[in-house]
Each structure stands twice: as C-alpha cells, then as structure tokens.
C-alpha cells in the first residue's frame, strides 16, 4: 500500500474529527424524476425531437424495412462508401449492415489490437472515416440525449471521431430523462451495468464550443452532425 494513501486518509479522518465547520445537510430532498415521466410515449418522442433539433441535431422516423435503403442513400449523397459501425447485434435494425454491404459500403468496426503497431495503424484508418453508425442504450426526452454504452461490437469512436453520427433506436429506448432511466431502466441502467463497461456517454447534439468570443461553433472535435433515427 503506498504510504501517501494512509497518510492522506489519516489527515482526512483527523480533520473530520475536529472539523465542525460543515453545516448539517437539509432533510427534504426533491423527487429525482421529472413530471415528463408521466407523459405518454408520443409526447416523449416529440419532446426528444424538439430538444435535439434545437441543438442542431436531426431527427427522423422510419419504418424498419426502409432504414437500410435510407441510410445507403444518405451515404451516397455524402459520397461516403465506408462507415465505422457497431456490429449488427448491437443495432436495432435487423440486417442493416448487410443492406449497406450489398450497396457497396465498407463496414468497419472490428476490435483494435491492444498492442502496437497494430493499434495505431488501425486507428489511423478509423480516423479517416466520415460516418459512424450506432444503436443506443436509451434516449432521454427531457434533454434530447442519446445514451451509448461501450461493449462487444460497440466501438466508442463510431460516435466520436466521425463527422456524422447516425444513431438508431426504437420506442423501447425512450425514457423521460436520465433520472427516469436510472429509476426504471432495470439492470441495464444499474450501477453494476455502468461499472461493467469502460464507458457510457450521454450525447446531446453535435460537438460544440463557444470558447472564442462566446460565439457558438458546431463540430469542434466530435461530430458536426448527429442524426437520431426512430425505427418503427
């Protein structure tokens, strides 16, 4: 055990023993879940769409059968023939990646080697890919947020190093808020699930900055474009 650990903890215990300078906590605490949790599914979806669009994201509803061709068309319009994608089992649209492959799109997303030189070489390739395709773990109506967890076949960079991030979800993924998900999302939203993956990211709209003169600029280091697709 490193000496500083015990030294520091000892100092803290000493401080807490002598320190009466902290006021007691107030007793009454508000409910963590907002009123939106009681709203019906349709109004939650519409709130999600409004929030996301306000921040410069896009929202789209598509029947499952059309998702593949719609996506392929989007890629074609952008002149993109390679995507960084989550693996098929992690996507809520069956056959989506095959539909892309059939149209000549190269799908990338296999695991990075842990060691060099393989790791950097593959990253250098990923860095050039313009579009990322992901599913979600949940979406939050109150803020227009997408919750994405790392896991098998779920590269983190698919929602990060690309210029356009397309996320597919179904009505089952919609929660009023993060608080509602924590309260009602079951095992998937639990602390154990969180700690079991290296990363859970809440994504709300495109990457942005206001660091120069407080002028809002979209697309700094992360995607300029976030497209959320509700598959019905």
């Amino acid at each position: 055990m490193p000496p500083s650990r015990n030294f520091i903890l000892g100092k803290i215990r000493q401080a807490l023993k002598t320190g009466s300078h902290l006021a007691p906590s107030p007793a009454v605490l508000p409910d963590a879940v907002s009123g939106l949790a009681q709203a019906d599914a349709a109004s939650q979806v519409s709130r999600f769409a409004t929030e996301l669009q306000t921040l410069g994201g896009s929202f789209q509803t598509l029947p499952q059968a059309q998702a593949g061709s719609w996506l392929a068309q989007c890629l074609q319009q952008r002149g993109v023939n390679e995507v960084l994608a989550w693996e098929q089992p992690a996507l809520p649209v069956p056959g989506l990646l095959d539909a892309l492959r059939e149209r000549g799109v190269k799908v990338v997303g296999e695991a990075l080697p842990a060691a060099e030189p393989g790791r950097s070489a593959m990253l250098a390739h990923w860095e050039t890919i313009k579009v990322g395709i992901t599913g979600v773990d949940a979406v939050f109506a109150e803020t227009g947020s997408l919750a994405l967890r790392a896991g098998p076949g779920r590269p983190r960079l698919a929602s990060l190093s690309v210029e356009t991030h397309v996320a597919f979800f179904t009505a089952d993924h919609v929660y009023a808020s993060w608080a509602a998900w924590l309260a009602r999302g079951g095992a998937a939203a639990s602390g154990e699930a969180l700690a079991a993956a290296s990363n859970l990211t809440l994504i709300t709209g495109p990457s942005r900055t206001a660091d120069i003169e407080m002028t809002l600029t979209v697309g700094v280091h992360g995607p300029r474009e976030v497209v959320a697709v509700l598959v019905t």
Binding site: P2, S4, F7, I8, L9, K11, I12, Q14, A15, T18, G19, L22, A23, P24, S25, P26, V28, P30, S34, G35, A111, L112, E116, P117, R119, S120, L123, E127, E142, G151, P152, G153, R154, R156, L157, L160, G191, L194, A195, A197, S198, N199, L200, T201, I203, T204, P206, S207, R208, A210, D211, I212, E213, M214, T215, T217, G219, V220, H221, G222
Partner: protein
C-alpha cells in the same frame, strides 16, 4: 509551448493592485468581460427558471456534497476500491510534487506502448483540468522533454499564448477573435480571418493529429462516483472524449474532494453544473468512464490511472474554510462577480480566481494568497448564484480574519482599526472623535465636501469627494430635541 507558472506572480497587496490596474486599463479585456457577464448570468437565470424544483434541486446538490465531505474518508476508500475493481489504478498524491512525479512516471512508462521506431518526444493530449493548473503539471512534464498539448479550444489558445487560463470554464474569455486570428496566423500560417468557424476548423485539424498520435491522454474529472468507480467528464467539444478514448493510456487527475456517493447523486449534480456553467440543460457530452477498455470492447484506453490529489484539501476540510470544498467548479460566481467582471481571472495570480477562487486559493496555498479575499465588496451575488449555496462572502471574511491573524495588513490599517475600536468602544471617546473629525474636515473642505484627503485616504478622494463631518451630529440633535420635548411637556 510553456505556460508561465501562475504562482510566480507576487501575491502582495502592491503586486495584486498592479495587476488590477493593468486589467482595468485593458479595453479588450473590459469588453470581453462585460460580454461574459451579461450573457452568462442571463443565460444561467433562464436555465434555472426552466428547471423544475430548481431551489429544491440546489438544496439536494448541497446535501449531496455535504454528505460526501462529512464522510470523505469512507467515500474515498469506496471510490478507490471501485476504480480498481473496474481495472483502473488509483494513485494518491499528498501534494503537487508527488502528483507531478506520479504522472511523470506514468507518462514515461507509456513509452513502452509506442509503435516501434517512433522517436518523437512523448506526446500528451490533455483535456481541461484545473488540477493540472494547480500542480503546474505542464511545466513538470515539459521539463522532462515531454510534449503536452491542451486540446480544449480555449486552453489550446491560451497555451499557445503562454498564458494560464483566465476562467474556470472559458479559458480564453479575455480574448477577442482578432487576437486568436493573429495567433493562428503567426503559429500556423493561417490567412487572417475573423471567421470563428474557420479558426475552430483549423484548431480541429491541428489537434486531430495530436489525439491520434498521443502516447497518453490526461484529463480532469468533474465528479467521481464512489459507488461505481466512475469518472464523470462533462464537456462540449469532444476533446475530453478523444483524450480518454484514443491514446493507449488515460490518466485522470482529480482533487480528492471531487466525489459524489452514487450514480443518482451524480444525476442531480448534472442538473446543476451545466446550467450554472454554460446555461445548458446538459452538455454535448457526459462521459462516464468506468475503468480501461475491457477485453470484449473494440476500443478505448488499455490503461486507466486515477491520480487523487490532496495538496491542502485535507487540511482545509478541518478548518473554517471547509465549506469551500463543496464547490463544483461551475464558474457562475466568477460570471456574476462585479470584481471579476472588472479584472478577469489573470489578475488574481492564482489558478483559482474570482470569489470562490479567492477562498480556495487561501485554503489550499495558505495565507500568501489571503490578500485576494480583500478584493471584494461582499456584495453577495456569488452566494445567491452558487448552485450548492456556498456562503462565499462569509468564507471571504474568514480568509480576511486569517489575513489579519497572520499580521499581513499594512501598518496604517492595523493602527487605524485598533484606533477605531478604541474610539468606538466608549461613547465619550466616540463623541470627542466626532468633534475632532468635524474640525479637521471643516478645515480641509470647502463647503460641506472635501476634495482631497491625505494618504492613504487619497485612494478615496482620487475619484470621490468626501463629506465633512457634521458640526452637530445626530446624537446632539437628539439631546436638544429631548430637552425641547421635556420643556413643552
């Protein structure tokens, strides 16, 4: 790329006053600070007006932070155990020097993960961390030949200029687009432009190379969750995500007070922090990092190190400034502060400026920094805006008390206050002093106002007239009135 250590700035009254004078005379800074004040405060008020049960949420946020600090030893142990269970490693640093050494060793060890044949200096991609400013990390790493690049746009800009950040949230708050344009033109040969989007795109391109070739990513931490060992990073640009995802080693640097007990507690803090900092309901990205890449995950860092830094916090916890440890570093008290809005962050000469910074600096770095707390009118705007209701004015007064106890005020002030107390403690002396003052100001003044007082009171009359003392004070008038009443009764 070196950053002047903020601590070399003198902390005497005179040195502080000189920096204030420089700030007051800088018209660019004045425009930028006014804009920051207007937009941030108005935006924050709107954001809270739209938050259901906003006041109760603030109460809850405060309660969470109080609970954490009151059992900090338990939560730290739980947090450390959780991080290690997730496969991360925890390092404890008692002070800045130990933290520097730990990080230096970790960065140098990362050389073992380099692609064969790479001979360039070790490269660190850094996302915003106030702790790294506090321990002057960049200097320590650069002194060992390591290249450190700040990747938050504002931090990137101030690093290129060789300056420390000027604000907790908006490091380049003191600059206009013209200065950034000139800087990028000089450093990257950019054709001069006032197009912010263009400048941002240039920074993106420059920094992208850094993310994808960095040996180590270093980040700060907004909150650590004790229950799950999760690090929460709350960002907008995406640089924080890249720094903690792409390089093979991620080092997260945090003050040891920056914990919350549970995930549900984190959710409450997340309602408060972005609204207070940038008037956002939520930032573009909330990254919850729980350990390094797992074997079954396709990407992410191979190693995760958490460096827990004390550097004065444990001592502060046992003292009268403990409440300042509740701070969640949102910067709202800076934005609302009329003093900060006149002088900006650099004038404070500490990594932590503004109202809370004046308390935290004295708490962490000792009475050398207690003069900062004197630069406040105690107007209370900071207390009203603080999301966790820190009584900042009272904390500033505690610091002032320590300043006096350390014998630091100038002699004229110490003597003056002692004389004041001697006079005021006894009504007879007080009355005599009133007469003397009336006589003196009567001699100095023309009419009822004095235009010039001798030093040190000339600091008043440099800008303001001072009224003459009344020849017949209220208490005399009261006596006359009482006598008159008695007669008429």
């Amino acid at each position: 790329m070196t950053t002047d250590p903020p601590r070399t700035a003198g902390q005497s009254h005179g040195a502080f006053k000189a920096r204030i004078a420089t700030a007051l005379r800088n018209p660019i800074l004045q425009v930028a600070l006014d804009r920051n004040h207007e937009r941030r405060v108005a935006g924050r008020d709107l954001a809270f007006a739209a938050l259901p049960a906003a006041e109760a949420t603030r109460d809850r946020g405060r309660a969470i932070r109080l609970e954490t600090l009151s059992h900090l030893d338990c939560y730290l142990e739980r947090f450390a155990a959780s991080v290690e269970r997730n496969g991360g490693r925890v390092h404890w640093a008692a002070d800045a020097a130990e933290a520097q050494q730990i990080i230096l060793d970790l960065v140098q060890a990362a050389a073992g993960r380099r692609p064969p044949g790479r001979t360039t200096p070790l490269l660190v991609a850094k996302s915003k961390s106030m702790m790294s400013e506090e321990i002057e990390l960049n200097h320590a790493l650069e002194a060992e030949g390591i290249r450190v690049v700040e990747t938050d746009l504002g931090e990137f800009i101030v690093q290129l200029r060789g300056e420390p950040p000027a604000h907790l949230i908006t490091p380049a708050v003191h600059l206009r687009r013209e200065e950034v344009s000139a800087l990028f033109a000089e450093r990257f040969g950019m054709a001069p432009t006032l197009d912010v989007a263009h400048m941002t795109a240039l920074a993106r391109a420059e920094l992208r190379r850094v993310f994808f070739s960095a040996d180590v990513g270093i980040s700060g931490v907004n909150f650590g969750v004790a229950e799950t060992g999760t690090l929460a990073l709350i960002t907008n640009e995406g640089n924080g995500r890249l720094c903690t995802t792409v390089p093979p080693v991620h080092i997260a640097l945090m003050g040891l007070e920056r914990l919350v007990p549970t995930l549900a507690d984190l959710e409450v803090m997340l309602r408060l922090l972005p609204r207070s900092a940038t008037a956002q309901k939520i930032t573009s990205y909330v990254s919850l990092l729980s350990g390094p890449r797992r074997a079954f995950e396709p990407d992410g860092p191979e190693e995760l190190h958490v460096v827990l830094v004390d550097n004065g916090r444990a001592r502060m916890l046992g003292g009268a400034l403990a409440e300042a440890l509740l701070c969640i570093r949102c910067g709202a008290c800076l934005n609302v502060c009329p003093v900060f809005t006149e002088i900006g962050g650099h004038a404070y000469g500490s990594p932590y400026g503004g109202p809370i910074g004046s308390v935290v600096s004295a708490g962490l770095f000792g009475s050398d920094f207690s003069e900062l707390a004197n630069a406040s009118t105690l107007c209370g705007a900071c207390r009203d805006i603080c999301p966790v209701r820190i009584d900042i004015p009272t904390m500033l007064l505690v610091v002032r008390g320590q300043h006096v106890a350390a014998g630091l005020p100038p002699a004229w002030l110490r003597l003056g206050l002692r004389a004041w107390e001697w006079v005021m403690a006894q009504p007879g002396r007080y009355r005599l002093a009133q007469r003397a003052a009336a006589l003196a100001t009567g001699l100095l003044g023309r009419g009822n106002w004095v235009r010039r007082l001798p030093p040190p009171l000339n600091a008043w009359t440099d800008r303001r007239d001072f009224p003459a003392f009344a020849a017949r004070p209220f208490r005399d008038r009261w006596k006359i009135r009482a006598a008159g009443k008695a007669k008429s009764d």
